[in-house]
Symmetry: C2
Subunit: 357 residues, 2 copies
C-alpha cells in the first residue's frame, strides 16, 4: 500500500541560510545578523545591531558580559563618578511560569552583586524583580536591599502592565520601606497604543508613549500619594513630552478630581517633586529649544543624564547635554540631580558647586 505523510517539518540552521536567496537591501540585513529569528521581533539596521559597533569581547561576541568593557568605555572614558547598572534582562517579560521568572530575577541579582558591584566601587545596582508576582517581588526587594550598593528597584515596562494598578502596591511598599528609588525602563516587549509599530524606527518612537502611560498610571492611581517619600525615575523614554502630560493631567484633575479623591496635589506638582527623567536618547533639539523645555517643565532638578551604554544610540556626555546650556543646568543634569536622587556622596561636590556659582 502507498503511504502519504502530509506533515513533515524540514528546517534550517538559521535565517542566515536564506541570505543567498534574499534580495537587497534585506540580504545585507540578514547577512549582518540584524535579525536572528522570531525570538527577536524586528531587525536592527544599525551597524552594530542593537549595540555600538565598537562593543565586542575578545572572542568577538557583542554582549557586555565583562565589567572591564564598562570600565573602559564608560567609567574611565568619561571619568564617571557613579554609574547605575540597569541590565537588560527583565524576567517580568515571561507571561507564564512565574516561579521561574522570580527565580531568574534572584539569580540575576546575585550575579550582579558578585560579579559587577564588587568590580568597581563607582558602580551601583538595580534590583531586578518579577513584577507579575508582586508579593514575591517585594520579598526579593527586601532580600537584596541589604546590599549597600543596590540603590533602586527596576520595574520593566512590558506591553500589558501599567504599574498604577492596585495589584502592584506590594512592590512600591517594599521600595519605600527600604529607601530605594523606583526606576522604569522599557523592555523588548514595550508597545505603543497599537502594538509595536511596523519598523524599528516606529517602535523606538513609541517607547516614550509607553513611559508616558506609566507616569499617568502611577500618578493618577495614587502611587505618589500612597508613598509620599518614594521617588521615581524613567529611563530612556525622552523628556520633552512632560509639559504636555503635566498640563493635560492638571486639566483633567481640575475638572474631574471627584473621581480620584486619593490624589491630594496637582499631578504636575507630584511630577516636579518626585519624578525624574533621564535625557537619553537626546532628541533632535536645539540649545534654545532645550532651555524652553526645561522652563516649561518648571524645575531644573528633574532631568538626569544617562549614556545608555552599550546601545547603538549611546549618548556622549559631552555632546548629548549641549555645551551651550548654562553651566549650572549642565551640572545639575550631568550629576547633581542624580546625586540628590540617590543620595550619593560626591567627592569635591562642595567645591564644584561653588565654582559653578
Amino acid at each position: 500500500m502507498p503511504l502519504i505523510d502530509t506533515d513533515v517539518h524540514e528546517s534550517f540552521a538559521g535565517v542566515k541560510d536564506l541570505v543567498p536567496y534574499l534580495k537587497p537591501p534585506y540580504k545585507d540585513w540578514i547577512a549582518a545578523g540584524a535579525w536572528r529569528g522570531f525570538s527577536q521581533p524586528f531587525a536592527y539596521t544599525s551597524p552594530g545591531n542593537g549595540n555600538r559597533a565598537d562593543v565586542t569581547n575578545p572572542d568577538g561576541s557583542a554582549s557586555v558580559s565583562d565589567p572591564a568593557l564598562i570600565k573602559r568605555d564608560v567609567l574611565d572614558a568619561y571619568d564617571v563618578t557613579y554609574a547605575l547598572l540597569t541590565g537588560y534582562f527583565y524576567p517580568t517579560g515571561l507571561k507564564m511560569q512565574y516561579g521561574l521568572a522570580s527565580a531568574m530575577a534572584a539569580a540575576y541579582n546575585d550575579m550582579v552583586a558578585e560579579k559587577w558591584l564588587s568590580f568597581d566601587d563607582r558602580l551601583r545596582g538595580s534590583i531586578q524583580v518579577n513584577a507579575r508576582d508582586p508579593e514575591a517581588a517585594a520579598r526579593e526587594i527586601d532580600r537584596m536591599a541589604t546590599h549597600p550598593a543596590m540603590v533602586q528597584v527596576m520595574l520593566p515596562v512590558v506591553d500589558d502592565i501599567a504599574y498604577g494598578h492596585p495589584y502592584y502596591r506590594p512592590i512600591f511598599a517594599a521600595a519605600d520601606r527600604n529607601d530605594l528609588v523606583v526606576a522604569f525602563h522599557h523592555t523588548v516587549f514595550a508597545e505603543g497604543p497599537y502594538g509595536m509599530g511596523l519598523s524599528y524606527m516606529e517602535r523606538h518612537s513609541l517607547i516614550p508613549l509607553a513611559i508616558m502611560g506609566q507616569v499617568i498610571s502611577i500618578i493618577l492611581n495614587g502611587v505618589f500619594d500612597a508613598f509620599p517619600k518614594l521617588r521615581f525615575i524613567m529611563l530612556e523614554g525622552g523628556f520633552s513630552w512632560l509639559p504636555h502630560v503635566m498640563w493635560r493631567m492638571d486639566r483633567e484633575y481640575r475638572q474631574g478630581r471627584v473621581e480620584v479623591p486619593w490624589i491630594k496635589k496637582l499631578p504636575s506638582q507630584h511630577a516636579r517633586e518626585r519624578l525624574r527623567l533621564a535625557t537619553q536618547p537626546s532628541e533632535d533639539i536645539s540649545n534654545e529649544a532645550f532651555l524652553k523645555v526645561v522652563d516649561l517643565i518648571g524645575t531644573d532638578e528633574l532631568l538626569v543624564f544617562a549614556t545608555d551604554y552599550p546601545h547603538f544610540d549611546f549618548d556622549d556626555p559631552d555632546a548629548a547635554v549641549p555645551k551651550g546650556l548654562p553651566e549650572e543646568l549642565r551640572q545639575k543634569i550631568l550629576w547633581k540631580n542624580a546625586a540628590s536622587l540617590y543620595g550619593f556622596d560626591v567627592p569635591g561636590a562642595g567645591a564644584v558647586a561653588e565654582a559653578a556659582e
Copy 2:
C-alpha cells in the same frame, strides 16, 4: 423526585435599581446616570455626564439629535462662520459584521446630508466609514464626496488600528482623489499603551497618546510621502506633545532612515507642512507657555480651534484661545488656519486680515 436547577438568571431593570444599596459617593454617581451598564466602560462623574449640563432636548433627553441645538449653542452663540460636524458614531468600532458596519456608515452619512447639512449653510460634514473594510470605505468616500458640503473623511481611533499599516491605503487614496482632508478622532474604544486606564481621568489623559501613535504611524509608514497633497487633522488629542514627537522622530530618522527609504523628508517637516491639530481640550497652560509651545512647533499655521460641543469639557472660543496671545496668532487659530486647510471662502477675510496687520 426533587429537582435542583443550578443556573437561573435573575435580572433588574438597570443599574439604578442598585442605588438604595450603594454607598457614597458611588450611590450618587449611579443615581445621576453616570454609568448605564457594561456597554459603557466607565462612569462619567461630571454633572451632565459626557455632555454639558445645559444640553437637553425638549423631551429631557441629552443627545444632540436636533440641529437647532447646535445652531443655538454654537453657530449663533459665537457667530461661527463654519462648523465641522464630526459626529460621535463610528461604525469602525464594530469588530465583527463588517457588512453591517459599512451599511451603518453609509446610512449615517445619508442622514447627515439630509438632516444636518441642509439645515444651515455654515455646517460642513465628515464622511464616516467602516475602516475595517478599506475597499468598502473607499467606495463610500467616492459616493459621498459628490456632496459639496462633505469636506473630510473621518478616521476613528479605536484600540487596534494604526492607520499607517498598508491595509488602509485605499482609504487615503480615496480621500486624495476626492480632495478631502483626513480627520482623526478618538472613539470610546481608544486606548493607551496599557488599555483604557483605571479611571475616566486616566483614560482621558491617555487619549493624546492614542493620537500620537496615529501621527507616528502615518508619517513613519509613508502615508505623507505616498499622497503628497493630502492633509491631516487630529481632533481632541491636545497639541503640546507635538514638539517631542517631531524631535524624537527626527532623531530616529537621522540614525535609522535606511529602514524606511520611502520617507523623503524629515518627519518634522512633514508634520509642519500637512498636519493640523485642534486645540480642544485646552490644557492647563499659561499664555507664556502657549506661546513657547507654538514657537517649539516651529509654525503658527498648525493649530486650529474646536469647541467639542456638546461635551462637558467644551472649549469656549473666548477662553480657550487666550486673549493675551498676539492677535494674528489668535486669528490663525480661531479661523485662518482652518479656512486654509478646508479651502473655505470666508466673507470679509481680506478686511480682517488687513486689520490684524
